[in-house]
């Protein structure tokens, strides 16, 4: 089956189910990620097994409601036990979670094996998620055949949305600052367990309809991707829902088209949706506008190059000022500024293109424009040295390093205040002249 076999009546409903499951999980997942409890969704979905089994033993049926209740109760117990072992036993949170969910899972397993003959829980079906069978089981609602899964997930999504909207302020404050929340009358433990309840409900509802991989991935990955994109909680929630939905839609298409490229049939939709969230996370982590890895790296590189360029014109200025006979070539610059030869050459290229320096036979020289910039830079450096000694009382041996750093971050207004604070001296602590502000470009070069 390739992309040609796409049938709206079937695949449309599958996508709808995937999107609903993604949105309901991502809504709550934001708070799990912010509370550093990202693995709780995974833990709860492991741990609900004994709840399902116990409900089956008590009710002797595969009726959804007792199973649902049993699973939610055990899901909550997971949170309670984890908290108890962490508090009373002083065990690290991750470890206490690991102890609780594996133990509960094992208990559930033993219970289920005892009843194996009566429970036709197909492991494969639960594992991969039965999302492909979504369109087969329908309810008649308002004259339309709506798949049962879609109805259930819509309700869960709506409840989660209401919870997040109604308790937005409380969730926000208790996630960021639990003690402030408690002192302002919102018990953070209450919000914790309320959130846990909704996580358990969502996990159980989705486990039944779309499989668990999807829930675990959707609770962590889209919120984490959204966290890379924005600093505001409201936007993060919206972005996570959008990312989750797009991942669900593209995931279904990927499930039917990607294996076809290699000559196979389609693969499981839920797992491809999980993989797609990973792809979107990678994109967000790399290209996020403020916190993306690539953007941050580029920003650092650009800053490093800018500082190096400023250091270069400053050095050329000083060489000419002291009328040294040194040949100012790239190698000399590299060695004096402890920079790599590549970045020095790149800086020189950009400086030449801006028209700040020109290459002459005896080495690099500043143009008039370059001279102006170099003077301001050296002025700021020497003013800082003066200021640090006379106003801040910094030791004379240390002022150079400080000034070296400050000079690159001194803009016009700060420079003005600096020269006001120091009464515009003309000689710096080392005895070198401080170039005047906005001077005419006197030809100290050559």
């Amino acid at each position: 089956m390739g992309i040609d076999n796409f049938i709206w009546e079937l695949d449309g409903w599958i996508i709808v189910a995937g999107v609903l499951s993604a949105v309901s999980a991502a809504l709550l997942g934001n708070f799990l990620v912010l509370r550093k409890m990202s693995l709780l969704g995974d833990a709860i979905s492991h741990a609900i097994l004994p709840g399902l089994a116990a409900a089956f033993f008590i009710s002797h049926s595969r009726n959804s409601i007792p199973m649902f209740l049993g699973a939610v109760i055990v899901g909550l117990l997971t949170a309670v036990f984890t908290e108890w072992i962490r508090g009373a036993g002083q065990v690290d949170e991750g470890a206490s979670m690991g102890v609780v969910f594996t133990s509960l899972f094992a208990i559930g397993l033993v219970m289920i094996v005892q009843a194996a003959d009566n429970v036709d829980l197909d492991p494969g079906c639960v594992l991969y998620g039965a999302i492909e069978f979504t369109p087969l089981d329908t309810w008649l609602i308002l004259g339309f055949d709506v798949p049962r899964v879609v109805v259930v997930l819509s309700v869960v999504t709506l409840i989660n949305l209401l919870f997040v909207v109604l308790f937005y302020k409380e969730l926000k404050i208790s996630s960021f600052d639990p003690s402030l929340s408690t002192t302002s009358g919102i018990p953070s433990w209450l919000m914790h367990y309320l959130l846990m309840t909704f996580v358990a409900v969502t996990a159980v509802a989705s486990f039944e309809s779309v499989g668990n991989i999807l829930v675990v991935a959707m609770m962590v990955v889209p919120p984490a991707a959204a966290y890379m994109l924005t600093d505001r909680l409201a936007w993060m929630i919206v972005a996570s829902a959008v990312i989750g939905s797009i991942a669900a839609i593209t995931g279904h298409f990927a499930a039917i088209s990607v294996p076809a490229w290699f000559g196979y049939h389609s693969t499981s939709t839920a797992s491809m949706m999980a993989v797609m969230t990973g792809v979107f996370f990678l994109l967000a982590a790399l290209f996020g506008p403020r916190h993306g890895v690539l953007v941050r790296t580029i920003r650092q590189r650009v800053l490093a190059l800018r500082i190096l360029s400023e250091d270069i014109i400053g050095l050329v200025y000083r060489v000419h000022e002291k009328q040294l006979t040194t040949k100012v070539n790239a190698q000399f610059l590299c060695e004096s500024l402890l920079a790599s030869s590549v970045s020095t050459r790149v800086s020189l290229f950009f400086l030449a293109r801006k028209g700040w320096i020109i290459h002459r036979e005896q080495g690099f020289d500043l143009t008039e424009e370059g001279q102006k910039h170099a003077e301001q830079l050296v002025r700021s450096h020497r003013l800082w040295e003066y200021y640090l000694i006379n106003e801040a009382g910094v030791d004379e041996n240390k002022i150079h390093e400080h000034a070296e750093r400050f000079e690159h971050f001194t803009n016009k207004s700060l420079g003005q205040r600096l020269s006001d604070a120091t009464d515009s001296p003309s000689i710096d602590p080392h005895g070198s002249p401080i170039p005047p502000l906005k001077s005419d470009h006197n030809d100290s070069g050559s």
């Binding site: 990620v33 550093k36 990202s38 693995l39 969704g41 995974d42 979905s45 492991h46 009373a88 065990v91 690290d92 991750g94 470890a95 206490s96 690991g98 102890v99 594996t102 899972f105 094992a106 208990i107 397993l109 033993v110 289920i112 094996v113 005892q114 194996a116 003959d117 429970v119 829980l121 492991p123 494969g124 639960v126 594992l127 991969y128 668990n212 991989i213 999807l214 675990v216 991935a217 959707m218 609770m219 962590v220 990955v221 984490a224 890379m228 499930a255 294996p259 290699f262 389609s266 499981s268 797992s271 491809m272 999980a274 993989v275 969230t277 990973g278 996370f281 982590a285 916190h291 890895v293």
Partner: protein, 493 residues
């Protein structure tokens, strides 16, 4: 997670192993049949070949996982094994696909495990990458890798199922584990891997220990922190991958976490924690595997987790270092000591404040019960209990029904307590510039934990010479008028 639901394969494993024992009973029979004496002996003495392999194999695995787990627990990486074991799945599937399409035997264990190791390592590197380069925390990094890689693994398995050679090829046993059908080869592999990792842990014990407790310090002392971290992760990977095939995802996580967490309650020393953890892991694996061999309807993987969880609860309650009970007991002892000290000091000060006491506080002066009740906000029952305990220790006398007095021994203790209390008050007033009206409460908190050495230092510092009573006067009370002083007297300097 339900997604690892190992019912089918587990049952199959259990059934094949005990085909002879349970063939007479129907599988639909829910009652657990009590095994015969013969069965007990056969399992416990490891007479059965299969049982021997399973029990020894899992025991070795528990031992190795316990050793590694104690390091990862202290490094707060307990759930790293969780993410790692999920991340091996796509590698196992891809290795099968590639090997099969190249015409090799895709089911070869080494092929599959090396594939799993490759994606496992990629998973770990992704976790480290996300944690170090983005602003996300470790837990989110684990969750992302777990979810995405496992999704990828299931997607690959979904494709394999459609291959003619495939039909899942038993690859799902990596998720479910097939403890009960462990082969001699598996046991050998676990044994070799377990011994190697344990040996490496012992060789690099000092370095790994430093890494767990103080990474920054280790770095500043010139230890290659990053390489050590990678070494630890490599050890976790080896143990996980070897164990995965034998016992499955969930059990592997449990073996890495539970024994180490349980061992932490027993000791504060890294070396002994490692030993405890190894023994707890080995012991619970042995018990779990044996139980499952004796009772055919108990899956061994789950039984191993349950028995280690039992050991964990036991340790958490009774552990002599950090156990819940011992800590509660210690707190209670401290509370009793504090109550006793309050009682004695209260008696002393009440006697001292009497106008006719002649500046001499003496034993056998009765103080009424009501007065004692008023000096602190304690409940009557608590005071009564406190007095009863003090009487048993011969520190106070019950004069009448409603009055108490100090015995000579009690007086001695009370004198020392008041002495310490007032020294601290004077210290606070003189050196810490605390207002005189507040020092009583501050001193009240610390007096119970002042030891003799500090008192000596205080005495030197304040140049206190023992006066007639051996007790400095209270900074709150003017000794001439007996009234509360408005200005604090500046100590005895």
């Amino acid at each position: 997670m339900i997604d690892h639901l190992p019912i089918g394969p587990m049952l199959l494993g259990v059934m094949t192993l005990f085909a002879d024992a349970s063939s007479t009973t129907s599988i639909t029979d829910r009652s657990v049949e009590w095994p015969t004496w013969e069965n007990w002996m056969r399992v416990l003495l490891l007479r059965d070949y299969n049982t021997r392999v399973v029990v020894l194999g899992t025991t070795l695995l528990g031992l190795a996982a316990g050793v590694i787990g104690s390091f990862t627990l202290l490094r707060k990486r307990a759930l790293m094994g969780d993410a790692l074991s999920h991340a091996t799945l796509p590698g196992i599937g891809l290795a099968f696909m590639i090997a099969t399409s190249l015409g090799y035997d895709g089911k070869s264990l080494w092929t599959l495990l090396s594939g799993g190791a490759v994606t496992g390592v990629i998973g770990i590197l992704s976790i480290l990458w996300i944690r170090n380069l983005t602003r996300l925390k470790e837990d989110a990094a684990l969750g992302i890798v777990l979810g995405v890689f496992f999704g990828g693994g299931i997607a690959v398995l979904g494709i394999i199922q459609q291959m003619p050679e495939g039909h899942a090829a038993g690859l799902e046993s990596f998720i479910y584990g097939k403890t009960a059908s462990m082969t001699t080869g598996d046991a050998w592999m676990i044994g070799v891997a377990g011994l190697t990792t344990t040996l490496v842990c012992v060789l690099f014990f000092k370095e790994l220990k430093l890494l767990c407790f103080d990474e920054g310090f280790a770095g500043s002392r010139g230890f290659p922190v990053v390489r050590l971290d990678l070494l630890l992760m490599a050890l976790v990977t080896i143990v996980t991958i070897v164990g995965l095939q034998a016992v499955g995802l969930i059990l592997m996580i449990a073996l890495l976490v539970i024994p180490a967490a349980a061992a932490r309650f027993w000791t504060d020393r890294m070396t002994s924690m490692m030993f405890f953890s190894a023994w707890i892991g080995a012991f619970s694996c042995m018990i779990g595997a044996s139980l499952s061999a004796i009772f055919p309807r108990l899956p061994s993987g789950a039984m191993i987790v349950i028995s280690s969880a039992t050991v964990f609860i036991f340790s958490m309650m009774l552990g002599p270092k950090r156990g819940v009970l011992i800590r509660r007991y210690r707190r209670q002892m401290l509370n009793r000591k504090i109550d006793r000290q309050h009682l004695l000091r209260g008696l002393y000060e009440l006697i001292e404040q009497r106008p006719n006491s002649n500046e001499k506080v003496d034993a056998n002066v009765p103080v009424s019960w009501d007065q004692l009740l008023q000096i602190r906000s304690w409940k009557p029952q608590r005071l009564t209990r406190c007095i009863r305990r003090a009487r048993q220790e011969q520190l106070v006398h019950q004069e009448t029904q409603s009055s108490v007095s100090l015995t000579p021994a009690g007086l001695e203790v009370a004198t020392r307590l008041v002495h310490d209390h007032r020294l601290w008050e004077i210290y606070l007033i003189t050196y810490a510039d605390v207002a005189a009206s507040r020092v009583d409460r501050d001193a009240d908190r610390i007096e119970h934990v002042l030891d003799a050495e500090i008192i000596d230092q205080l005495e030197d510092l304040l140049e206190h010479r023992r006066d007639v009573h051996g007790v400095p006067n209270s900074p709150h009370v003017d000794p001439l008028s007996g009234n509360l002083a408005t200005e604090p007297r500046n100590g005895n300097r």
